[in-house]
Amino acid sequence: MSGASAIDILIAALLLIGGFFSLVGSIGLAKLSDFLKRLHGPTKATTLGVGGILLASIVHHSLLGDGLGLREILVTLFLFLTAPVSAHVMARAAMASDPAAKPPPVPSKRNED
């Protein structure tokens, strides 16, 4: 191994970005105060983090391994399609189990002034 090639730098950067966003999402899950606030961390940041790691894996396996695989693209597509659906379903479950968790309705403009 003589020095770092551009592909190595790209893979390392994608890996670090992905790991960072996964960590940020999990810190948000652990530290935020309310369930509806906590929902933001994992559903957006963690999905982006896994996306970064999957991109690094796609680059690694397609350029250094044995060709572009269908499965890694399938995993990426599946995670990015299902993340908003599961977030929506979980928010509805939280509101059903605890009606007090429901945010107050947005006041209409007519009553505001």
Partner: protein, 98 residues
């Protein structure tokens, strides 16, 4: 030491750092899973836990320079989504199949 194969030293270092970050992330998810005051918190932390597990499996696939772990990652991703939806449905309606 693990045989790094075609992995350069930079990528190997980045892999180690990312695996450490994901380890911390999994511990934080586990903390919320045990602590979580409501059922919805536990469902959310299980959801995050499986997404992070998919990431760890893919990292391990890069480390071992094999594509065999993608099947496991795909299965975990699909079953995890179904599990999240089933648990949320059960909390919402006390019934999964209507």
């Amino acid at each position: 030491m693990i045989d790094t194969g075609a992995i350069g030293p930079l990528v190997s270092l980045a892999l180690d750092a990312t695996m450490a970050m994901l380890g911390v992330a999994l511990i934080l998810n586990l903390f919320r899973l045990i602590r979580g005051p409501t059922v919805a918190d536990r469902i959310l932390s299980l959801d995050t836990l499986y997404i992070n597990t998919v990431a760890v499996l893919i990292l391990f696939g890069i480390r071992m320079n094999t594509v065999i772990y993608f099947e496991a990652a795909l299965v975990i991703a699909m079953l995890g989504f179904v599990g999240t939806v089933a648990l949320s449905k059960y909390v919402m309606r006390r019934d999964i199949i209507e």
